[in-house]
Symmetry: C2
Subunit: 138 residues, 2 copies
DNA sequence: CTGGCTGCAAATCTTTTGCATCCTG
DNA sequence: CAGGATGCAAAAGATTTGCAGCCAG
């Protein structure tokens, strides 16, 4: 926790509650997930605070924003380089730490300077395969 | 054009205008881009029609929906399997047709049945590198 | 004490929906 | 001529913003 203060991230009770929720969380929660979980402890918690906090954390590279859903940002508190495996039925996202080194042949780079890559694997998770899909909106 | 009618896709003047706009377009346009371009010819064109048409095309696999931006869907009229290279400064997206075969070791699959993958390469395009970034909102 | 943080409400942006009308096949 | 498509306006969902009051450093 001290590390946050050191990098100029002011710790408030709300922020600590969010950090607690994110600690070790590998469910790639959305802003809504975070809001719902944390507002149980902080009934006055607002979305503005969730978004502010997540923006600040992303800026300090303490969290990664995922563009997996089109119109719902999700957050990954694990900032180690890794890829994702996404269930096409229930949208669950799990981490894949296998390393892949990918290169684009020069002829195909179109002048870009490559800085990195992200692999999204798609599949069907074990629950959905067995006919017990986790409920989601879509 | 005949091929659309054959697969049960009813052709209206608006739809033909959208298809014309998409033909050979490799700029991965958003609904807004499509709406703006096509409504010049069809002043009464509505977003509802753009979304309806794109949904219908996606369902017939004539177009692919891209989740590159968080809350702005983009469309790719090129349905051949390929990956994308995205400029982190101006959000331009270019196609990469190099083939990569990626596999997740069994131990890391967590019971998933893998169906596919998508690679997003990140980089800085030649214009942004040279200090002439294409204007975007963000 | 001061600048950054909070929380409410209102605004914004993208996408969806309801529905009466229109027109392709 | 029937069923799907259109287009308007309103609704919905996610995120952002304005701003007054609060509190960590």
């Amino acid at each position: 926790m001290e590390k946050y203060r050191k990098i100029g991230f002011k710790l408030t009770p709300q922020r600590i509650a969010i950090l607690d929720y994110l600690e070790g969380n590998n469910e790639h929660p959305s802003a809504e997930d975070i809001y719902k979980a944390v507002s149980e402890r902080f009934p006055t918690m607002s979305y503005a605070t969730v978004y502010n906090t997540m923006d600040a954390l992303a800026e300090k590279k303490c969290v990664v924003e995922l563009n997996i859903d089109t119109h719902k940002k999700r957050f990954d508190p694990d900032v180690r380089p890794h890829n994702h495996l996404i269930c096409t039925k229930c949208s669950q996202v799990v981490d894949v730490f296998e390393k892949y080194s990918l290169d684009i042949p020069k002829e195909q780079r179109q002048g870009f300077e490559i800085t990195g890559n992200l692999i999204e694997f798609y599949g069907v998770c074990i629950k959905c395969k067995n006919g017990f899909p986790k409920k989601t909106k879509e």
